[in-house]
Symmetry: C2
Subunit: 201 residues, 2 copies
C-alpha cells in the first residue's frame, strides 16, 4: 500500500518535515533523503536544486495557511460568526501542524518579496471587503468603533502567536507539554470570547 506512494511524493513529505524544522539554510539534502528513505541524488533528479525543492515546500505551506487567513477577510458571515469560526478552525488545524506558521514567518522575514509574489497574484477581495464590513457594523451600532486593520491584526495575533512562541510561553508559564496542550485547547473558544468582549458595545 505504501509502495504506491511515488518517490516524488515521499520527497515532498520528507522535505516539508525537515524544512519546517530547520529552515532553508539549516536543512541538509542528505537529511531529507534519509527522512524519505531514498537516494540523495533522486532529490536532484526530481527537483533540480535545493532552492527549487524549498520553493515547492514553501509555496505549498503558504497556500495551506493563506486561505485560512483569508476567510476572515472575505467570508460572508457576521463579524462574531467569523471570529468564532476562525478561532476554532484555525486553532484546531494548527494543533495538527504546529510548525507551519513559524516556518512561514521565518522564511518570509528572510525574503519579504515572497509575499507580494504569493498574495498579490491572487487578486482576492482582501482588505476592502473587510474594511467595509467593520465600518457598517460600527455605524449600525453592532460593535464599538475600531479600525479594521487593528482588529485584523489582533485576531491573527491572538490565534497565531501561541504556535510561534510555544517554547517561550512554556518557559514563562512553567507548564508541561500536557499543560500547554490544555491551554491551547481552551483557546479554541477563549480567544473568540476575548475578542468579542472587547468589541461589543
Amino acid at each position: 500500500m505504501n509502495k504506491e506512494i511515488s518517490a516524488e511524493e515521499k520527497i515532498l513529505t520528507a522535505a516539508r518535515r525537515i524544512f519546517e524544522n530547520k529552515g532553508m539554510s539549516g536543512a541538509r539534502m542528505q537529511e531529507i533523503a534519509d527522512e524519505a528513505k531514498i537516494n540523495k541524488s533522486l532529490l536532484h533528479y526530481y527537483y533540480r536544486s535545493k532552492q527549487k525543492l524549498f520553493e515547492a515546500v514553501f509555496k505549498s505551506a503558504f497556500n495551506t495557511l493563506s486561505p485560512q487567513i483569508n476567510t476572515i477577510l472575505s467570508s460572508d458571515e457576521s463579524i462574531c460568526e467569523k471570529i468564532t469560526g476562525f478561532t476554532f478552525n484555525y486553532t484546531t488545524f494548527m494543533v495538527k501542524h504546529p510548525y507551519l506558521p513559524n516556518f512561514i514567518l521565518q522564511e518570509l522575514n528572510r525574503n519579504p518579496e515572497f509575499v507580494t509574489e504569493l498574495i498579490s497574484s491572487k487578486n482576492l477581495p482582501g482588505m476592502k471587503k473587510f474594511r467595509n464590513q467593520i465600518k457598517d457594523a460600527v455605524e449600525e451600532g453592532k460593535i464599538r468603533n475600531i479600525a479594521a486593520e487593528q482588529l485584523f491584526i489582533n485576531i491573527l495575533s491572538l490565534n497565531i502567536f501561541p504556535f510561534v512562541s510555544t517554547p517561550l510561553l512554556k518557559g514563562f508559564l512553567e507548564v508541561s507539554d500536557k499543560g500547554f496542550k490544555d491551554i491551547l485547547e481552551k483557546r479554541k473558544t477563549e480567544v473568540a470570547e476575548f475578542i468579542i468582549q472587547s468589541i461589543k458595545l
Copy 2:
C-alpha cells in the same frame, strides 16, 4: 572617537546584526567580519567558534527581551496600569529593534532547551504572583473572570506578533512601509485599550 570601540565590541555589534537577520545557520563568519570591518580570524581569536559567538549574541538578546516580559508578571502596579505601561513601552522599544523577537523565537524553536537554561536559572517571582493578582482582581470585582495564563498569552500575542509577522501583515493589509509604521504607532495605545475593554466588567 570611533577608534575607541574595541574589536571585541565591534564584533559583537556586527554579529548581532547578521545573526538577527539570518539566524545561526544562515549567518557566515566572513559576513560578520565584513560588517565589523575586521579580519575574519579575529572572530576566532576573541570568540573561539561560531557557536560561542552565537551564544553570546543570543544570550544578550534574550536578556534584553525577557526583563520586559517579566514586568507584566512581577511589577507591583495594578493590572490596567501594567497593561497600559507594558504595551506602550514594549512597542516603543520594538520599533527600534524589530528583528529581536523574531530572532529569539526562531532560535528557541530550533533549540527549546535554551529556555529552561535561560529562564529557570533566574528564580523569578514569575507566574505565581501574576496568578494571584488576577485571582484577587476577579474576586474584588475589578475584572471579569479570566484565567491568568490566557490573559498573559493574550497580552504577549497582541504586543509581539506584529513584529514577528511584519511581511505577512503588510501583504494582507496592502500597506506601504510608512502605512505599517503608522499602524504600529497607533498600537502603542490601541492594544491596551483592546485588552482592558475585554476584561473589564
